[in-house]
């Protein structure tokens, strides 16, 4: 009966702010101080010893953010190496980084090297000298430090509250808001437009609720000052007839695509929720190329099937049974399937011909783009469940009509 969790912003829509530094730099207590002002909206997500800890809050004017408390980067031993690896996994999804050091230890080569990594990855960041109550450097020393540092500098003390507000302001000033989550459908429509959403009510949706993709799409439409019409597939024809002018676009659940396509006149753009989410998280044209690569698979080729979370029973059925069956049908030969799930994404992906990824509803855009980018760098093609389902159902071509670059990728003869 937790009201908060029922109405919380999805983790993947939050700006992710990671805290990095040596052990005992005071990262955890700094996160507590940063989030303290609004105790009611903080939630702890339990982690194992090697897993990062997440704390969510509203940081206005940014909106919902999640602070990620990573393990110390100087951890030693086997467990320590695992922690460092996890920390670098966190870095992949961060929109902003706070590098923390104890003021008594000061900045060392270690922090400088990490800052170089942030700059290389274009992650906005600040450097925080923590435990400032133990004594601050002289003004001229601070000036020299500021000059030598490649990112902004701040001083904090959790003990007496110094600098906590300043760090929040630095996040607000330096973070890149646009990077978090681009429009789902807002860029395809104008204010005042009508958008028709087709949503079969299946028994799997909880009574009295709408599933998250539907909620997110409606919100995106309303925020664009447009109007959302929600209908089941059987009322679509009647719904379209009741309008004085055609809607800007029809968006349907993939399940109902064939009927919806038949009932939607050819001059009205039509796509699916899963195509919109694939577009928001990744690159549609790349996903299309991944599908075309599947057509060319040879016997014994390796395909990696990836799920972003571990606790979705239904997805397991899709990933373990349906996706392999479809791929075999498309390729027309036996394939060597491998699987990965959870936040841990394999480092060595070079051996695979294609990666087929889930929709990634629990992963943010930065993480998904990292996965697409590293795959393509190694010559591996990548696509996702929604795209594969659309292809198998024969609806991909029409569903891509609103997206010229992806449509072109589908029509090209050569893979690039």
């Amino acid at each position: 009966m937790n009201l908060n969790s029922m109405n919380e912003t999805p983790m993947s829509s939050r700006m992710a702010i990671g805290l990095f530094g040596k052990r005992n730099a005071g990262k955890s207590s700094l996160i507590n101080a940063l989030t303290d002002q609004s105790v009611a909206v903080i939630s702890d997500v339990a982690g194992t010893t090697t897993d990062p800890v997440y704390k969510t809050m509203e940081l206005l004017p940014i909106g919902p953010v999640v602070f990620i408390d990573t393990a110390g980067l100087d951890d030693t031993g086997e467990l320590g190496l695992l922690r460092i690896e996890k920390t670098y996994e966190v870095l992949r999804k961060c929109h902003f980084a706070i590098v923390v050091a104890d003021i008594e230890t000061g900045i060392t080569d270690f922090e400088e090297e990490f800052i170089d990594q942030l700059i290389k990855r274009k992650i906005p960041s600040v450097f925080v000298l923590n435990k400032a109550d133990k004594g601050c450097p002289a003004p001229e020393e601070i000036e020299a430090l500021k000059k030598s540092l490649k990112i902004p500098l701040s001083f904090t003390s959790v003990y007496n509250g110094t600098g906590i507000k300043a760090v929040k302001q630095m996040i607000i000033d330096h973070a890149n808001y646009e990077d978090v989550e681009p429009a789902l459908v807002g860029d395809l429509i104008d204010s005042g437009d009508m958008v028709v959403l087709v949503t079969p009510i299946d028994k799997s949706a909880p009574k009295g609720r709408l599933i998250l993709p539907q909620q997110q799409t409606i919100r995106d439409i309303l925020e664009k000052d447009a109007v959302a019409m929600i209908t089941k597939e059987h009322e679509l024809k009647h719904t379209l007839e009741s309008l004085n002018k055609p809607p800007a676009i029809v968006i349907t659940d993939s399940q109902a695509f064939l009927k919806v396509s038949a009932d939607t006149p050819a001059d009205i753009p039509l796509t699916s929720f899963s195509i919109l989410f694939a577009r928001q998280k990744t690159d549609l044209a790349e996903m299309v190329r991944g599908i075309k690569r599947i057509e060319q698979l040879a016997p014994g080729d390796k395909v990696l099937i990836v799920e972003g979370c571990t606790h979705h029973r239904q997805a397991d059925d899709i990933g373990k049974v349906k996706i392999p069956r479809w791929i075999r049908q498309i390729a027309g030969c036996d394939i060597d399937f491998h699987w990965a799930s959870g936040a841990h994404y394999p480092k060595d992906i070079g051996e695979y011909a294609v990666i087929v990824h889930c929709g990634g509803c629990m992963l943010n855009r930065r993480e998904m783009q990292y996965r697409v980018h590293t795959a393509r760098q190694k010559g591996v093609y990548i696509t996702n469940y929604g795209m594969l389902i659309a292809y198998v159902q024969g609806i991909l071509s029409r569903a891509l009509e609103p997206f010229p670059a992806a449509k072109l990728a589908l029509e090209e003869n050569q893979l690039n």
Copy 2:
């Protein structure tokens, strides 16, 4: 990052099934056995020693249910009395009761009296003799017992699994589905109708989500094979103009009622989300009489302000500050305000002139109706926040147009 809680059916929309009996009758292990088949959808809600424990599951074809494990009814001592009181509080919201006794102890006066209470309250129920692995009575004894019992009988053993399925089937056979949650708007519309929902997107709604009342209303519309149009208040006029025929009804957030009322032609029925929820949970005409009673309050009259939950900061501001201010303004005199919150509802309400209740989003219909019923039995009038807000804003009359009985109650000169 719990996917389940993000998409769970609200507790108040579930069929509530209480387990009652002496301590050590095996209630807790019976609940575990009843819910075991679908471990993945069970969730434990933490309780204190005196609070009942809730376990949710899908029980098809009923749908979402919640099993409530109550403390032993024969508890002794001061804490024991508190537990018994809590148990009777649970009974108020139960749609179904399972009375459990240890087969070795058998049925005693105690269970028979409790069964009489259930019959008096018209709560469908079964009697379960548990721990049947310890030995079952002879067939003729069972027949005699069945004849003397006023409710169906079953035998269970958690130890060897006997009878667990049968008890579930008895719930399915004897429960009253309609009792759980009547239509929100479904009975006001026909299939194919267009319903316009006006939802200001305020900053308090979490990014990427729709608030629960909006989700529930959209679901209810779709389940009636009708079409929901979602618009912000500024696009309403344009939205209505884009339709070939007027919508069946316009439903708005109370915040935007005045603008929406101005933009909605008088021949189109218009109401608010809060009026719909008040109607679903209680009796609109009674709520209207409560408002009219506030007009007649005399100096020093006692008013009780009740909130169904304890963890909603915003509601606190409404209940503690705004509601008293409005009541003072309507009554034109000083009032003696009292407050109650959480599941514990005061037993002695006879001293109050009016009870003003929150919307009760965390309470189910049975519990809300119990509160209305007991108030009226004692000559106490009752109304709710949404109704009071609508009255203060001067919109109550129009918002009640679709509900003739409530409208009539508003127009009557005499309270009854």
